[in-house]
């Protein structure tokens, strides 16, 4: 086919459905020239999502969503299905890796003030993705029908029984019975398969909203002219590919050398509704929120605090009214940012330990500090912090 004829077909299609213009937009999409490696984690989270969907598709071909056969079918995948062990370990480790990438991505946004105007909706869609991810991961963890699956599902679904009056009916509706059982497993499997595609739709909205005003950057100063930007391709495609490489090396280390390190051994025992394991712990990525749940000595209060811990992130663009975005020009904010990160890690540590003795006291202090950070420290900093002078433009910050 001659070049001209080919262009003819391209033009014919593009006139009717502008997919080629869209690809051209992606190729020419301009990005701040000073993005550091922290900006690679969005793409890394994206590739992690693709890996989860692909490995999940192949697992679903062998998995049986029935309370009597689910546990055995997972063992069958591990022992008999060709490369079943690899696909399952990729999926299980991949969930953790996806959360690592997303947590770094969120942490990047918090540090550089990426949630601020005009990117509030980018932030919102990101939080929706985060919420959907948590729901998907939770339901996925139930599917192997091990002890942690069963009791994790019991505890989390019971959170809804804290709702006054209708709580009990809602929980029975979620279960399709009087306890977590076969109907619950079936619907969790269906939803676990559905939600990732809703996440994909949210990702599209997240990126579309991002492309309206473009990426934030380490200076937090908006793009002023073409001198501040470089095309996404090839500069950031190459940079992101390097990020992928490092990510895949860490990923492969866990898959091949420590596939069960991030999981819990109790989940290799089949679900038993008569015996609760002595220490129920969720997967590591839920631990900070689990610690907040347990810190409040009231059922409804604990549930409200746990959901509130994420809900408060939606209010962040307004709680932090400082015009300066990047922590690089906010010396006090920077200190409190790292204190907050430490607090979240501390909550994670507390969440992984039994609710007794000092763990309770530390958990309560850390929970209190978590909310203090958003409701007191951030608004106070926005009002009183003396920020450093920002550069006039990205270009002048780089002195070139």
């Amino acid at each position: 086919m001659s070049r001209k004829a080919k262009n003819g077909i391209v033009e014919w299609i593009d006139y009717r459905l502008p997919i080629f213009s869209f690809i051209k937009h992606l190729g020419e999409y301009r990005t701040p020239k000073n993005l550091n490696y922290m900006w690679s984690f969005g793409s890394i989270a994206g590739i992690a999502l693709v890996i989860q969907i692909l490995t999940g598709l192949f697992l679903a071909m062998h998995y049986s969503p029935n309370a009597n056969t689910a546990f055995a079918s997972v063992e069958n995948i591990m022992r008999n299905v060709n490369y079943g062990w690899l696909i399952r370990y990729m999926h299980a480790v991949g969930a953790s890796m996806f959360f690592v990438a997303v947590y770094v991505h969120i942490g990047r946004g918090l540090y550089y003030g990426s949630y601020k105007s005009p990117r509030e909706l980018v932030w919102f869609f990101g939080l929706f993705i985060f919420l959907l991810m948590m729901a998907t991961a939770f339901m996925g963890y139930v599917l192997p029908w091990g002890q942690m699956s069963f009791w994790g599902a019991t505890v989390i679904t019971n959170l809804f029984s804290a709702i006054p009056i209708v709580g009990e009916s809602i929980v029975q509706w979620l279960w399709g019975g009087f306890a977590v059982d076969d109907p619950t497993l079936n619907r969790f499997f269906v939803l676990h398969y559905l939600l990732p595609f809703i996440i994909v739709a949210m990702v599209i909205l997240h990126i579309t909203a991002l492309h309206i005003h473009g990426s934030n950057n380490p200076t937090g100063v908006e793009v002023k002219s073409k001198n501040d930007t470089i095309p996404f391709h090839p500069y950031y495609t190459v940079k992101d590919l390097f990020g992928f490489t490092i990510f895949f090396i860490i990923f492969a280390f866990f898959v091949f050398y420590q596939p069960n390190y991030l999981g819990h051994p109790d989940n290799y025992m089949q679900a038993d509704p008569m015996v609760t394991p002595p220490h129920i712990v969720p997967e590591w990525y839920f631990l900070p929120f689990y610690a907040i749940l347990r810190a409040i000595p009231s059922k409804l209060g604990g549930v409200i605090a746990m959901f509130g811990a994420i809900a408060v992130l939606f209010a962040l663009p307004w709680l932090d009214s400082s015009k300066v975005k990047s922590a690089s020009y906010r010396p006090k904010f920077k200190i409190f940012y790292w204190l907050f990160i430490f607090d979240v890690i501390l909550l994670g540590y507390i969440g992984g330990n039994p609710p007794e003795g000092w763990y309770i006291a530390i958990g309560r202090v850390a929970t209190f500090y978590y909310f203090m950070h958003f409701f007191f420290i951030i608004p106070m900093l926005a009002k009183y912090e003396k920020t450093l002078p920002e550069p006039k433009s990205i270009r002048s910050a780089r002195n070139d």
């Binding site: 009791w151 019991t154 505890v155 989390i156 679904t157 019971n158 959170l159 029984s161 029975q172 509706w173 979620l174 279960w175 399709g176 019975g177 009087f178 306890a179 977590v180 059982d181 109907p183 619907r187 509704p273 008569m274 015996v275 609760t276 394991p277 002595p278 220490h279 129920i280 347990r294 409040i296 000595p297 009231s298 059922k299 409804l300 604990g302 039994p354 609710p355 007794e356 309770i360």
Partner: protein
């Protein structure tokens, strides 16, 4: 011209009425169409079918607790010791988080038998027997302590362990459900 000006608002309000009623009806219809799908997730008839379990109490010794499965949940049947009963009765029950006297939680004249759904009222774990600060049950998940009557004494659980509907068929047999 004059005529149309007069008619316009009249027509408009009539049209608004039609639009509003049609929208309202569509919303009701939409809601009604949604309901079967929502309700399909509720417990189905076979799950709801009243299941009952008969338990022979003869082999349960004093101080022993037996777990039986009923509707997918464990039921604790405890043959209480005189000390258990004494502890359960000698409590200022009105000051408890979920106030209930021990007498309300057992059948009259059979205070040695305590029958409860063995599911923590906090988030649904199964409490461990003969433990906790009140010598009753202790939930390992989030640290709720229950006394020898299964009443919540300390910790995040809001309610006492639930006593299911049951009856004595004879002196040594009960029917749960």
């Amino acid at each position: 011209m004059n005529k149309t000006n007069k008619e316009a608002p009249k027509n408009k309000s009539r049209r608004d009425f039609i639009v509003l009623t049609a929208t309202a009806l569509a919303a009701v219809g939409g809601g009604a169409a949604l309901w079967p799908f929502v309700d399909s997730m509720n417990p189905s008839a076979d799950v709801l079918a009243l299941s009952s379990v008969e338990v022979d109490l003869k082999p349960i010794l004093v101080g022993q607790t037996v777990k039986v499965l009923w509707r997918g949940k464990p039921v604790f049947i405890r043959h209480r010791t005189p000390k258990d009963i004494e502890e359960a009765q000698n409590v200022d029950w009105q000051s408890l988080p979920d106030p209930q006297p021990d007498a309300e939680r057992v059948k009259p004249g059979r205070s040695e038998w305590l029958v409860m759904i063995g599911v923590c009222t906090h988030l649904g774990c199964i409490p461990i027997g003969d433990s906790g600060d009140y010598h009753g049950w202790f939930c390992p998940c989030h640290g709720s302590h229950y006394d020898t009557s299964g009443r919540i004494r300390k910790g995040p659980a809001p309610l006492n362990l639930i006593v299911p509907a049951y009856q004595f068929i004879n002196d040594t047999k009960i029917k749960i459900g």
